[in-house]
């Protein structure tokens, strides 16, 4: 249903994942995940090692945070993050590169899974694994099937439908065996036997590579999907693969599905088989004006400016710097921002492409309605948002909006539909929360 076809611009598919040198200092925010920020366990002046737990999760929907470097804690202070707000973070000055002894740094692939399902879930929480596709939902929560629900299918998201981004694509090409082991791990935790990897047709090499070896993992299949944005959205992917719709206001588990992103699966493999907590990830650095579009393996807390430098430096004509893809990413106010668990890419947009179109009157062409993957009416939600008509917005299902941006992307009048819808959503969300409390 719905969807658009933005130009793919996957400029960095020829660039293998390369390890970025360890930075001189890192800033590690305490809130890198959906849920309650973690509580720091270290103090100013403490020595830390790579992989050491430095902040503990607060409650069930929260995540542990580990140091990505070895060195001395400089301070715990406010730091600007990709949200545009300043939030608590741990500043660490790097000294050497000393890892926790418990981490298995050998290159061999360990296929045998020794932990039980419950132990796996516990370990995911310990290792601070969150969804690396961008939503950063804690993985141990996803892996815990609530009472009364039953998981039937594990769905692996290898769609990467955002233009420009290639981090997941490169992981599929370079770490296929690890991914398939990772899938076995999640299957065990969920108690399911069937896993389906969804990959769009524009990545034939990844489809081929995974299909070649998937044969030796029973119950895991690859499904090629036609290219369409926002097919990488959780609900859209489940619909494309299982032909089932997540009910409005519900979760995938309500229809027996659990979705994990490719990058997350790789992190889970490393956490369970290699005892390595989540402190680095693959980040695409790209853009038409970037001289070396790249896929870097980056220690979390490294500044965005260092990634851009490694990809050939910030071009003169830069108009916008985006954390993520062009459809859903956040534009940054500065490059002095740390890479966090949810950073899938850094995209540089040229000056002339960074300005919005002139806003014209809505001509009621209904293109926004036909592209909306959720069956909503963006033109109407936009107007209701603009006029702060929150009761009507709720009635028109504004909370179902996944903020994919297809409406604003497609609007011939250049109307900022999603801006108004977000405004409406945040207010309706607030009203719903206060209604629940009273």
């Amino acid at each position: 249903m719905g969807g658009v076809h933005p130009p793919e611009n996957k400029l960095s598919t020829k660039s293998n994942i390369t390890e970025l040198p360890v930075p001189k200092a890192v800033i590690i925010p305490l809130g890198q995940h959906l849920g309650v920020p973690a509580k720091p366990l270290v103090n100013k002046g403490d020595d830390v090692k790579v992989g050491q737990l430095i902040a503990a999760s607060e409650g069930f929907v929260s995540a542990n945070i580990h140091s990505s470097v070895s060195g001395k804690v400089l301070k715990i202070d406010k730091a600007l993050d990709s949200s545009g707000y300043t939030r608590d973070a741990i500043f660490i000055n790097v000294e050497g590169d000393e890892w926790e002894d418990s981490i298995d740094r050998s290159p061999e692939i360990k296929k045998e899974i020794s932990l039980s399902g419950a132990e796996i879930t516990k370990k995911l929480a310990e290792a601070g694994i969150v969804g690396l596709g961008g939503a950063t939902f804690p993985s141990h929560v996803k892996a815990s099937v609530p009472k009364g629900k039953k998981a039937e299918y594990l769905i692996i998201n290898g769609v990467e439908c955002e233009p420009y981004l290639t981090a997941d694509h490169m992981i599929m090409l370079e770490k296929p065996e690890e991914l398939l082991v990772g899938i076995e791990i999640i299957k065990k935790a969920l108690g399911v036997s069937a896993a389906i990897i969804g990959i769009e047709n524009n990545k034939p090499d990844a489809i081929e590579k995974l299909s070649d070896i998937a044969g030796s993992y029973s119950g895991t299949t690859i499904q090629a999907l036609k290219v369409q944005y926002p097919q990488g959205g959780e609900k859209q992917l489940i619909q494309a693969i299982l032909k089932r719709e997540v009910p409005s206001g519900g979760l995938p588990i309500d229809i027996g599905a659990v979705v994990f992103n490719v990058g997350t699966v790789y992190a889970i493999y490393e956490a369970i088989q290699k005892n390595k907590p989540l402190f680095e990830r693959v980040v695409t650095v790209t853009g038409k004006s970037i001289s070396k579009p790249s896929n870097f393996k980056v220690r979390l807390g490294t500044q965005v400016s260092e990634l851009i430098e490694a990809a050939g430096g910030l071009p003169e004509d830069t108009g916008k710097i985006i954390n993520g893809g062009p459809m859903m990413g956040k534009s940054l106010a500065s490059t002095e921002i740390p890479v966090v668990k949810g950073s899938s890419g850094i995209l540089i947009i040229k000056d002339e492409e960074s300005k919005r179109k002139e806003i014209k009157p809505c001509i009621r062409c209904s293109k926004c309605v036909s592209v909306c993957p959720m069956g909503l009416e963006p033109f109407l939600l936009g107007v209701l948002g603009e006029k702060s008509m929150f009761a009507r917005l709720e009635e028109e299902k504004v909370m179902d909006c996944i903020e994919c941006g297809s409406c604003s992307f497609t609007c011939p009048s250049g109307r900022p539909l999603l801006d108004f819808i977000r405004f409406g959503k945040s207010n309706v969300g607030r009203i719903i929360r206060s209604r629940k409390q009273s």
């Binding site: 249903m1 658009v4 130009p7 545009g84 619909q239 997540v246 009910p247 409005s248 206001g249 519900g250 910030l314 830069t318 108009g319 916008k320 710097i321 985006i322 062009p326 459809m327 859903m328 990413g329 956040k330 534009s331 940054l332 106010a333 500065s334 995209l347 947009i349 960074s354 300005k355 919005r356 179109k357 014209k360 009157p361 809505c362 001509i363 009621r364 062409c365 209904s366 309605v369 036909s370 909306c372 959720m374 069956g375 909503l376 009416e377 033109f379 109407l380 179902d400 903020e403 941006g405 604003s408 992307f409 497609t410 609007c411 011939p412 009048s413 250049g414 900022p416 999603l418 801006d419």
Partner: protein, 338 residues
């Protein structure tokens, strides 16, 4: 970093689609039908088209600049579309003042009164046409004979109209049935022939005469994704079914479905008028209801009413229902809990 960068919410890219591209796309889609009208009605058609477009664009400019004090937006192409559509709904060789009054009604009353582009409840070109039809009923229903460049440029109102004009096939059938003739005999003695409907050599207003040219326009707009199939198909299908039932009862009192579809502006209305973005419903389901409504009202007017045609009135009536349809006919929501 020395210079400022832009910070704005997502999405950060745009499809490049624009109001201008859509409007000029419609203009391109209307070209085949326009050229056919030039072929059959010669200078009389060229003059009507040019004057209608110039008046519509001119009135929009003047109203925006001097009355509304807005920045004129005539380059968006919407006034040009209205001008061509108005011309498509007029007979050729019409006196200039009638065309200018039609354009003033279309743009001034039909569009700008409501706030301009995007805000008009009724199709502006049809507002102009229906006003003219009610004000100048004789001139608006006498169609110059299709004699190519021998068709006169202008036929003044005081001329003996009957000598140089003819009726439309629908008009002939309506008249014949009133006089108690059977369909077969009406077709025979007026030489009514379906190939002519298709190719355009029949009496009628500029844009309605050639089915093939209108269908080329439809195909172009579908390929370019300017419109979807829902409105044109539902209108034509409804008319086919409704007239087919009547024809099945008594083929000598009711014309067959193909005759109804190919004549009297059904295709012009279904392809170019009813699909007007501003005045039609906002989702496929609503568009189909709207199309069915137009089809039913058209047939009711044609078969049971005084006017031989009826498409214009049917579209205007359903334009009036569009806000209601938008309010109560919703797209299928994802994950709707039934």
């Amino acid at each position: 970093m020395s210079k400022l960068i832009t910070v704005s919410p997502s999405p950060h890219i745009h499809s490049g689609q624009s109001v201008e591209k859509l409007m000029y796309g419609v203009v391109i889609a209307m070209m085949p039908a326009m050229l056919v009208s030039f072929y059959f009605f010669g200078l009389g058609a060229i003059y009507v088209t040019l004057l209608s477009v110039a008046s519509c664009v001119g009135f929009e400019y003047l109203i925006q600049k001097f009355i509304l004090k807005q920045k004129p937006s005539i380059t968006d192409g919407s006034a040009i579309v209205t001008g061509i559509l108005l011309a498509f709904n007029l007979p050729s060789s019409l006196p200039p003042f009638i065309i200018i009054v039609g354009a003033l009604l279309a743009i001034g009353v039909g569009k700008m009164t409501f706030g301009g582009l995007g805000n008009n409840p009724f199709n502006p070109a049809l507002v102009g046409r229906v006003f003219l039809l009610l004000s100048f009923p004789t001139r608006m229903t006498k169609y110059p004979l299709a004699e190519g460049f021998n068709t006169p440029l202008l036929i003044p109102t005081n001329d003996n109209l009957d000598a140089v004009t003819g009726a439309t096939p629908l008009g002939l059938v309506k008249e014949g049935l009133k006089n108690g003739e059977s369909i077969t005999s009406i077709f025979q003695h007026n030489g009514i022939n379906y190939t002519d409907f298709f190719m355009g050599s029949i009496g009628g207003s500029l844009g309605e005469i050639a089915a093939f040219a209108l269908i080329i326009g439809l195909v172009y707009m579908l390929i370019k994704k300017i419109i979807t199939w829902h409105i044109p198909v539902s209108i034509v299908a409804t008319i086919a079914v409704f007239t087919g039932i009547l024809w099945g009862f008594n083929p000598e009192s009711y014309a067959d479905p193909l005759f109804h579809i190919l004549t009297g502006g059904v295709l012009l209305g279904a392809i170019f008028m009813a699909t007007d973005y501003v005045t039609s419903p906002m989702n496929p389901k609503g568009q189909i209801y709207y199309g069915i409504g137009i089809g039913v009202i058209t047939v009711v007017i044609r078969v049971f009413g005084v006017y031989p045609e009826g498409v214009s009135f049917a579209i205007l009536i359903m334009n009036g229902f569009t806000p209601l349809i938008n309010r109560y006919v919703k797209p299928r929501r994802f994950g709707k809990i039934s």
